[in-house]
């Protein structure tokens, strides 16, 4: 999974801003979203991201996998990540 060419990400106190500058669309995410974005930027796979988050959050792995999958799908639907 790769970020599209015109996507810019900036960390903020609340999490991160994602700016898809070609379509001029702005998205906001919280700190967990920011952590996922950082992992995606490092080239982590879905399972690697889930494994990392399981160690940080006291939630069942199935819930974490669902949440991460949904988040990644939102990024793809909004042309932030390539499919």
């Amino acid at each position: 999974m790769v970020f599209t060419a015109h996507t810019k990400i900036r960390e903020e106190k609340f999490g991160a801003v994602i700016f898809e500058t070609l379509k001029e669309k702005i998205f906001i995410t919280n700190r967990t979203g920011k952590d996922i974005l950082n992992l995606l930027q490092k080239g982590s796979t879905l399972e690697e991201i889930v494994d990392t988050l399981v160690n940080s959050y006291s939630a069942p792995i199935t819930n974490i996998r669902n949440d991460v999958t949904n988040f990644i799908n939102q990024l793809k639907d909004n042309s932030i990540l390539t499919r």
């Binding site: 810019k8 903020e12 994602i18 070609l22 979203g33």
Partner: protein
Amino acid sequence: MDLINSVTFKDLKAPLFIAWQINSECNLGCLHCCEEAGHPMPDQMHKDQIFNFLRQIIELKIPYVALSGGEPLLHPQFFEICEFLRQFNISLKVETNGEFIDRNLAKIFARLKFRSVQISLDGATKDTHERLRLRGDWNKTVSACKALIEEKVNTEIVFVPTKFNIHEIGELIDLAYSLGVWGVYTGKIMRIGRAAKNWDILCPSDEEYDVFFAVLNKKIAQYDGRMKVYYYPYDVIEELKYRLRYPSASLLVIPNGKVKLIGPLPFICGDLRKHSLIQVWENYKQAWSNPKVVEFAKKVIEEPWLVSEANDWIELYH
């Protein structure tokens, strides 16, 4: 970890977008120019001040910059500025009349991987375009589009409807598609600068706008999925009403380094020759709740002709 909507511009550590009028010099004398561009501004930022500003853009991780003018390609440091920003992977758009863009310049835009080059084309025909854009050359502008598209530069066309050209919107969109442009942008003319002085001969009637929107909507449907045709939905007063409630996370920088709160208002919230960019951003955040600004903006909403005073600056911070 969802994408969320509860954040406002005040929560951001820096702007997300800089609209930078790098000069006021222009080779044309367009009747509808909202900047009254033509001659250089006497106190335009010099090279050291420009690069000081650019370094702050990088430090603050501002993701997206649009360069305009005047005619930005007349600025002596235009390509140095572009090279600098692209070196740090800032998304970059330029708004130009296109008249200086030949194959060689198109290759430079391609190498620098601009987000887009946005060209003002105000007619589907030479006569119409040149009646509005005095000293303009329609052939050069269309050639610029072709050169950019051949070099695979993301090319956009901007069309401002006036009494002179409003009837050509359909043909213009067809022309844009035949050229292979990425998108056509249009929106109501703003009553600022030279456009304000020529308002009576420029501003289309309601009936002309009705026909315009009918054609536009047809073209939007016709090119759906093939070419972006975008109408900016707010006129200057609607924009002001909206921005009073939801200010944007962007700064409008004029050639002398002063930063306007928003195009239709005269308020200046900082000077990049004297203030740091982060200070200007903090000023900007506060300025939107400054009673002087709010009161004046409400007055403009009631009496739209006051927008014509938008270039008579009022400094909020010295």
